[in-house]
Every structure is written in C-alpha cells, then in structure tokens.
Amino acid sequence: MQNTLTIAGRQFRSFFNGATAYIVMAIVLMVLGFFFWQTFFLFGRATAREMFTWLFRILVFAVPALTMGLIAEEKRTGTIELLITMPVTDAQVILGKFLGVAGLYGIMLLLTLAYPMSISTLGNLDWGPVWTGYVALALQGAAMVAIGLMASSFTDNQLVALFIALTINLFFWMISLFLPLLPSELASIFEWISFNYHFDSMTRGVVDLRDVLYFLSVAAIALMVAFRSLESRRWR
C-alpha cells in the first residue's frame, strides 16, 4: 500500500508542480459557470440538476486531458523504465496513478460546490439530490479516469491517448442519443451501457446499487486492461 500511495502522491503533486491542474480546473469552472448560469434564471427553480448535466458533459472532455499523460508521458520520457525497475508491481503503478488523478478530480468536484451553495442562497435548495448527484459524478469520474489511464497505457503519445479516451467517453455518452434509431432489443442494451442512463437516475436523488456497480465495473475493467497493457511491456 505504501508504494501505491507514494506513486499516487507523486502523481497528485506533479499536477500542481506544473500548470495542468490549474488550467483544467479553471476551464471546467468557467465553462460550467457560463452554461449553468445562462439558463438558471430562465427556469426560476432552485435546483442543481442542470449543473450536474453540464458538469457531466464538461468532464467527458476534461478528464481525458488530465489522464492523457499518466503513462504515455512516462513512456515518452523513459521514466517508466525507472519506475518498473523499482520493487513495485504493475498493479501498484496503475492503482497509484489512478488514485493520484482521482485526488485531483475530487478537488475539482469540491470546488464546484460553490454553485449549489450559491443556489441555496437564492432559494430553498433540496440538498438530497445534490449529494446523490455528487456521488454520481464521483462514480462517473472513477470510470472516466480509469478509461483515460487505460488509453494512456496504450501509447507514448499524449494526443493519441487523449483521442482514444475521448472517443470512448463520447461513445458511452452519445450512444443514448441514437437509441430511437436502434431495434428495441439492441436499444435496451445500449441504453443500459450508456453513462446517462445510470447518471440521470442518481441526479434525481435515487442511488441504485446497480448504477453504482455499473460505474465501478467500467472502472475495474479499464484498470485491468491498463494493467495488462503495462505488463505487456515486460513480455516483449
């Protein structure tokens, strides 16, 4: 566990040693603020539901930007060789990287609390759906961070990693938009695998164990693939 936390800590600090964390967090908060407040007063209701919808969409793009360099940059610079010569397992490397980004993602979510707090000063905000919405964002974030980490483990080019992660995230998001075009049997399957299906029910204030398991399963599968991908370097 010490090794995992050491790698996580190093990854977390590296975001703040450079400009990456600040830039991504600033962009997320600004874009969220722009879209959310633009329509907020039109509805005239003290609800954060729209905020979660926008945040969901923004994070589909923002998370790959945070994860693209996790392994790809280490491969490009050669520091991955240093890391795998240490007495650490590949699983510890993957888990450490995952936790490092998850920490930054958590801080980003904490900063967005400013919006529901602002809403609560304008009206009577029901905090129940807000908290379940944050649970949904945390779970969706875990899945997207794992997908980004997996994409980063495939290549030594950050842009390629960004493109792969973005494509997968967009698939899990956009697939729900094409359901009317699909046969009913397929539509129900694709509806179930889309992020929206599980995310939306949580933002309504319902935490269903199946939704939780869905996001955790996506994260676990992506982490497993990332682990195998990193491990494959040794088997050349």
Binding site: Q2, T6, G78, T79, L82, T85, P87, R234
Partner: protein, 348 residues
C-alpha cells in the same frame, strides 16, 4: 538449482549468473547465447565489471534483463540465485542507472530520490535522510532542493546514480554512467562506484570507451552483435588491440611509389590496396613502426601529403575482428566464469 539459489524468491549472494541467455525482439537478435557468472569483490576480483561494446551491441539489453525489465527469450538469468524478472523481492536489492536521461524534471533532486527510496521500501523520514545523504555523496548537497529540470547533464547523471544507490543495493547496474559528464562529475562518480564495490556490492557498468573501463576495473566483458566475444583483464584487451591488424590510409601525390618503397622496406606491412588513384591503404601488425616509416618516406621522397588516417582505430574494429575470428575469451586471467555452453573456445 545452484548452491546460491534460494527458494524464497529473495536475493542470495551478490551474483549474476546467466546460462545461454538470449533475447530477441521480433527478428532482431539483441543478445545471443551468453553464459557467465559475475560476483562481488573477493580475493581475485574488485567486484566491478566493465561491459564493453559498441553502440547497439546488446549492453543495455543485458542490463535490462539483469534489472528484471525484460524477460529472456531463451536461457536464464539469476541475480543472487533468483530470476529478477518482475520480482519485487529481488528488485529491492538491485540499483539501476539507466542510460536514458529520464528524470522527473518537476521534482527537486531530494524529492525524486526520496520517492525512489520510498518505493524501495524505506519509511518516509528514513527515505528523506537517505536521499539527502546519497545526494551529498554525489556532490549535490547545495542543489538538492532545486528542480531537476534546471540541472546540468553531469548533475542529472549524478542524481540518477544517487537514486540507484539510495537503498544500498547489493547489485548495481550502470548503463553508460559517465556519458556527458564533466571531469568533476566523473571523479565523484568513479569514487562512489569504487566505494560501493568495496562494500561488497556487485557493480556492472556498460560503456563503449575502453579508458572508462580502465579507470575503474581490470575486469572486462566484451560484447558485440549480442554475443560475448571476449572477457578478461583490460591489459589482455590491450594486447588484442595490438595484435589486431591495423589499417593506415595515406592520400599523397604518388601513392604507388610510396607503396612500392614501404613494401620493400617494411616487413610488418601485410597488405596494401589502393582505394583510389591518390590513396593507398596499408595493413600492418606494427602500427607505430609503420607510421614512422611512412613519415620518413614522405619526407625523403618529397611527396605532397594530403592526409594520414586510420579507418579502424576504434574498438568497433576490434569487435569485428574478434567476431570474425570466432573468439570467446580474452585470457586466462578472467574472473568471469564463462559457462560450458559457450559456443567457441577461448582466445589464447
């Protein structure tokens, strides 16, 4: 299983033993049929082994295999009696300084080496203390709090060595540790390597420069085209260099007259050819005497000289020569025990 081999998966003696070790990437053979046994300092050995070979000869592949980064395609490698491949128990006792200039530029030297010590199993405070001591040993006391991104090449090299030694490994693998270093860095690095070896650490370092080996050790392994072509003491390698037929190329106004005179006067010249009309190439077994004779003839016969060069005054030429001769051992003084599977007899 050898006597030194352990069953627990932990390191036994500070040794590296390979048996018919081969590694290839697709159709490219990086290392072929290498059998040897290297050990730490003892009655007849300093514990420092120079792995000498031209670029692309397989040195880094050998170190990668010893460091557990790569899996052998064929044969076996044991570090302290245990396979190092993906084996954290063994890796905790190995220190690797890779050739690539790969460091976390955003961290300070102290943060980087501390993190590496932590990953090697040290506690937080211990890792910080050890990192500070290691960086100080490598002359980076005043720079350890600065970001690595601002370090010079020599400082970066010393930082890599500090991380390789911070956990006091029993086997130290150094890939071209002196590349790009200034005289001060070089002196510090050499002293530290000697100190580690004196403390019982097995040190294997790769280089393509013979005098770097001479500065550290008498024991050398010559590797070329993925094969161990010779092993032994540095002076035996020097003897081989002298034995190796030497080529001298002269471009002058009348190359054929010069060739005719030297062919009649110098018995050491064993071959002459004319790559172009104004150029003559001598093959000699006594380079110094032949250089003197060429100079004398050029002056006495009043040739107009354009150039005197040697196309093969490099170690690479020696490696090609050894490969062509099918040799596999430089001398009787070798402490490296080349395995019984070596494909060709020792050079005597």
């Amino acid at each position: 299983m050898s006597a030194a081999e352990t069953t627990e998966g932990t390191l036994g003696d500070a040794t590296i033993r390979t048996v018919r070790l081969s590694k290839w990437y697709g159709k490219v053979t990086a290392l072929q049929d290498v059998s040897l046994h290297l050990h730490a300092s003892g009655p007849n050995t300093s514990g420092i082994w120079g792995l000498l070979g031209p670029n692309g000869s397989g040195k880094s592949t050998f170190l990668g295999l010893a460091a557990g980064q790569l899996r052998p395609s064929l044969g076996s490698i044991r570090v302290g009696g245990v396979s190092p491949f993906a084996n954290p128990n063994v890796l905790a006792h190995i220190g690797l300084c890779p050739e690539a200039d790969a460091l976390y530029d955003d961290l300070s030297g102290l943060e980087f080496v501390s993190a590496m010590a932590r990953l090697s199993g040290c506690r937080r405070q211990e890792s910080r203390d050890r990192a500070a001591a290691a960086l100080e040993r490598f002359g980076l006391k005043n720079e350890m709090h600065r970001p690595i991104g601002g370090y010079s090449r020599g400082m970066r090299q010393r930082t890599k060595l500090a991380q390789a030694t911070v956990h006091e490994p029993r086997v130290l693998l150094l890939d071209e540790p002196l590349t790009g270093t200034d005289p001060k860095s070089r002196s510090v690095i050499l002293d530290q390597i000697r100190e580690r070896a004196a403390q019982g650490c097995l040190v294997v370092f790769s280089t393509h420069v013979l005098h770097e080996v001479e500065a550290l050790t008498e024991q050398v392994l010559l590797i070329a085209r993925g094969q161990l072509v010779a092993h032994g003491h540095v002076h035996e390698i020097r003897d081989l260099l002298e034995e190796h037929p030497h080529h001298i190329r002269v471009v002058c106004s009348d190359s054929r007259r010069l060739a005719a005179r030297l062919a009649s006067e110098e018995q050491e010249i064993v071959g002459i050819r004319f790559p172009s009309e104004s150029c003559v190439e001598f093959e000699t077994t006594a380079p110094e005497a032949t250089y003197a004779a060429i100079t004398k003839a050029l002056v006495q016969d009043e040739h107009r000289l354009e150039s005197i060069t040697s196309p093969d005054a490099t170690l690479e030429a020696l490696f090609h020569y050894l490969v062509a001769r099918g040799t596999h051992g430089a001398g009787t003084g070798a402490d490296a025990e080349v395995g019984q599977h070596s494909p060709s007899p020792s050079l005597r």
